[in-house]
């Protein structure tokens, strides 16, 4: 089980690196959808010995919402906005990947500081992977200009936090977890509506050009 978790974490980290390095929005959305499904499975794998209906429900909900609903919403956004690529991000793709590796390093260091799992075991990769995913999402929000990409970054951040939550803190009550999932879902939904309005009003999704208000 340990090695399964380790491989899942490495896949999660690899998908982070891919998200940092790729420019096509559609590909990025597919990767995020892959992440979502991976995390849905992670919930089951970590608790394989003691599967409860609660756990299966949460895993299924996040599998469906993150793996299918979000991608559908985002692809609609792409279709309506007609954007395929991020044009001239603040930080280039190669630099982003290098920054991602740096974030991985920092997360590994932070992971050793947080005494949650024994060092060296497969699960010791969980906290660094979660933090790296969190930082990746944050980095994408900061380094990309397209509003859809920023929305994607938010989902990635949530994925990171979810990873941490599902593995480190299994004791969270069902109601809280469902509330959280609902909130994230609504957040993405609201962002989707905002993107729709922005696209209709401005004819672009370049958040860098939303710069009338300052000072």
């Amino acid at each position: 089980m340990d090695s399964t978790i380790e491989i899942m974490m490495i896949l999660l980290l690899l998908s982070d690196m891919a998200l940092l390095g790729l420019s096509r929005l559609r590909t990025c959305i597919s990767i995020v959808s892959f992440q979502g499904m991976l995390l849905g499975l992670l919930a089951l794998v970590t608790q394989l010995g003691s599967l409860t209906p609660r756990l299966i429900m949460i895993a299924a909900a996040s599998f469906i919402i993150k793996g299918f609903v979000f991608p559908i919403l985002l692809r609609r956004g792409i279709r309506e906005a007609g954007t395929q690529h991020e044009i001239e991000p603040f930080v280039g793709y190669i630099t982003s990947v290098i920054a991602g590796l740096a974030m991985l390093g920092v997360s590994l260091w932070l992971g050793t500081k947080l005494p949650l799992f024994a060092a060296g075991s497969g699960t010791s990769l969980i906290v660094p992977a979660a933090l790296t995913t969190l930082f990746t999402g944050l980095f994408l929000i900061i380094a990309r200009k397209n509003a859809l990409n920023q929305c994607l970054g938010y989902i990635i951040m949530e994925n990171g936090i979810y990873t941490f939550g599902i593995v480190s803190v299994v004791e969270i009550p069902l109601l809280v977890e469902l509330g959280i999932l609902l909130d994230v879902f609504v957040a993405v939904f609201v962002m989707g509506i905002a993107i729709y309005h922005i696209n209709r009003e401005f004819d672009h999704l370049d958040s860098d050009r939303l710069n009338v208000l300052k000072g």
């Binding site: 380790e6 491989i7 490495i10 980290l13 690899l14 690196m17 390095g21 793709y93 190669i94 990947v97 290098i98 991602g100 590796l101 991985l104 390093g105 590994l108 010791s124 990769l125 660094p128």
Partner: protein
């Protein structure tokens, strides 16, 4: 030093050009052609050796030294790479660095020879070659460093058999090395060895002015380079326990190399050459895979 370890060198010297033939055969069968004979590379080398060389008046001794230095560097490299768990004759601790630098020397002299001709095409090829190898080399070295760190051994001959292929880190390194392998040997998607247009060439354009035995040396040394780098990858994928009777690991390694050649042929058939702008991105991706593996192992 055992007698068996010389098998490494002899096998390499004999079989290296065969890999080129296998790649070409695979591509031909994908395209539905009969293709060149399997031994075409041998015929080419022999034919070129029988011809005389033509030297431009503007070239200096560097132009003549290029192929010779290249061949000798790769011959030394052949002597430090193990074949299927049989220690290489010149194995020593830290030889993985020597391997990287021998390949560097070979490239350096090829580039110098290309620049020496003063042709603008060759200069262009040289600059591309240097750019790409500057990015590929870190990927190669960091990947090997990751393996060295995992096994705790600094010698290729003992490090490669000791690596466990099934650990995720090694998979990452293999993926990265495969990219480096394609780049270093000027294969698609980095470079098209059969292209007809000088503008798009990288490796082939650098050796346009070489002829006769010099060109034979170049052909032969690039075949050997393919062999050497292939052995590193195959060594990681099929680690064979030390101490088993030599024909078993050696034949495993050779089968591995043939498989690798077929895979390269398949990749070349399925992919198109990348735009020049995208090549550094792919190499950086390979480099970050290596670095990723290295960070994971350091953990």
């Amino acid at each position: 030093m055992q007698i068996t370890s010389f098998i490494n060198i002899i096998l390499g010297l004999l079989l290296a050009p065969l890999l080129l033939g296998i790649i070409n055969k695979t591509k031909a069968s994908f395209a539905g052609r009969t293709g060149q004979p399997l031994l075409q590379a041998y015929y080419d080398i022999i034919k070129q050796l029988q011809k005389g060389a033509v030297y431009s008046k503007t070239t200096s001794w560097i132009f003549r030294a290029g192929p010779v230095v290249g061949l000798s560097a790769v011959l030394v490299a052949l002597a430090i790479v193990p074949v299927g768990g049989i220690a290489a004759p010149l194995a020593f601790s830290g030889d993985l660095l020597l391997l990287a630098y021998l390949l560097g020397v070979m490239r350096f002299f090829t580039v110098l020879a290309a620049l020496d001709t003063g042709s603008s095409f060759e200069g262009m090829g040289a600059s591309r070659e240097v750019l790409f190898s500057a990015i590929a080399e870190p990927a190669f070295l960091i990947g090997l460093a990751a393996i060295a760190r995992e096994t705790g051994i600094m010698s290729l001959s003992h490090m490669l058999p000791a690596a466990h292929f099934f650990s995720p880190e090694v998979v990452l390194v293999v993926a990265s090395l495969l990219v480096v392998f394609l780049c270093e040997n000027a294969r698609i998607p980095f470079d098209d060895p059969n292209t007809h247009l000088e503008l798009t060439m990288i490796h082939e354009v650098m050796v346009l002015d070489h002829s006769g035995p010099d060109f034979a040396f170049i052909l032969y040394s690039s075949a050997l380079k393919l062999w050497v780098l292939g052995l590193v990858i195959v060594g990681l994928i099929f680690p064979s326990p030390a101490g088993s009777f030599w024909p078993a690991p050696v034949s495993t390694a050779i089968c591995g190399l043939i498989l690798l050649a077929i895979i390269v042929g398949i990749i070349e058939s399925l992919m198109a050459r990348l735009r020049l702008l995208r090549i550094p991105q792919l190499l950086v991706a390979a480099g970050s895979l290596s670095a990723f593996a290295f960070i994971l192992i350091l953990r």
